[in-house]
């Protein structure tokens, strides 16, 4: 990874694999935090780079996933604060978030859309934990660190979030 020949490559295999595995989950999390698609994409890009630069001791490899999610969240909060100061007209000019957060190419397209809609109305503290655990692939310890909450709280929020989401979707999915 650190050899001279690999330094000349556009992007290492580590990065390629890491991005193809995690970029969808990171973007999903960012979309939940942002108001516009462009903002969500910017959040992911800036957070990945910032996390990589902050974890400079790890060489040129990808950063810790938990750090990226924590950075996305922190940057999203900062962005929301700054956007609150914008005028409504400026808000309307932004590109809208996609209708569904999940892959709708599969055969159970309606189900994916339904879960996506239910996720939008789920309380944010449940939604964050569910997203980080299921689609972000983080452990409860990592989620706790990312959200700055105790690990037990993360686990209980996950449980309550699952139940709540199930309730919201039960009638249709049953």
């Amino acid at each position: 990874m650190n050899s001279g020949s690999e330094n000349e490559r556009p992007l290492s295999n580590d990065w390629d694999a890491w991005l193809s595995r995690h970029s969808a989950g990171m973007l999903l999390f960012a979309r939940q935090q942002a108001r516009r698609e462009a903002d969500a994409q910017d959040l992911v890009q800036e957070s990945v780079i910032e996390s990589w630069q902050r974890g400079g001791g790890n060489g040129n490899g990808p950063p810790a996933l938990g750090l990226v999610y924590a950075t996305i969240r922190r940057r999203a909060i900062d962005l929301a604060r700054s956007q609150d100061r914008r005028t409504a007209r400026e808000e309307r000019t932004g590109s809208e978030l996609p209708a569904c957060w999940f892959d709708t190419a599969a055969e159970d397209r309606e189900r994916a859309q339904l879960i996506g809609q239910a996720m939008r109305v789920l309380p944010a503290n449940y939604r964050e934990v569910l997203t980080l655990k299921i689609w972000g692939g983080l452990t409860f310890a990592e989620i706790a660190e990312t959200l700055e909450i105790p690990a037990n709280t993360a686990a209980s929020r996950y449980r309550y979030g699952l139940e709540e989401l199930r309730k919201l979707t039960k009638e249709v999915l049953a």
Binding site: N7, P10, L11, S12, W15, D16, L19, S23, A24, G25, L27, L28, Q41, V44, Q45, V48, I49, W52, Q53, N60, P98, C100, W101, F102, D103, T104, A106, R111, A112, I115, L130, I134, W135, L162, E163, L165, R166, K167, L173
Partner: protein
């Protein structure tokens, strides 16, 4: 809602995949990371590399070494200056020669006095032959300063003579 039901729902969620990022975004992200990695590699290489020059290429080697030689020279000169001033200061503080000037005298008792030592008249003649009388007085002016806190007494006595013509006497 039982645990089994919830487990099935969890499995269902796990099977659900997040929407893939748009191609344009994926490319942009990859390009941004590539650029950052490249910039860091270049900076790391610049810091660690010594210019590969022949022994004959003195100018290039000199320029490279000048990077640390110039600030090092300043530091050495500054150290010498400080050391030298310290040594000079040490020399001044040798016994018998006070390094710092003594503080000013704080007089808490000042006496000024004039004492008449002698008084007499002298008679002389003017060029025309007329006699003239002078009153001559010898005085001693005395100034005394005391600094009781330091046990110092400064005493100065200055003699003074005054000659005053008293009258012209015509006989």
């Amino acid at each position: 809602m039982n645990d089994h039901d919830l487990d099935l729902f969890e499995q269902e969620l796990n099977a659900l995949k997040p929407a893939q990022p748009p191609k344009e975004f994926a490319n942009r992200l990859s390009l941004a990371i590539t650029n950052k990695v490249r910039i860091r590699n270049q900076e790391t290489r610049k810091r660690s590399e010594v210019p590969k020059t022949n022994f004959g290429d003195f100018a290039a080697r000199f320029r490279f070494h000048l990077r640390w030689l110039a600030p090092a020279t300043v530091v050495v000169l500054a150290s010498i200056a400080v050391l030298r001033s310290d040594l000079l200061g040490l020399r001044h503080t040798m016994p018998g020669t006070p390094a710092v000037p003594p503080p000013a005298l704080k007089a808490d008792d000042v006496r000024i006095d004039s004492t008449l030592v002698a008084s007499f008249d002298a008679v002389a003649s003017l060029p025309g032959g007329e006699p003239v009388r002078f009153r001559c007085e010898e005085w001693v002016d005395e100034v005394q300063l005391k600094d009781t806190s330091r046990g110092l007494v400064f005493n100065q006595r200055v003699p003074r003579v005054t000659v005053v013509p008293v009258c012209f006497e015509t006989y």
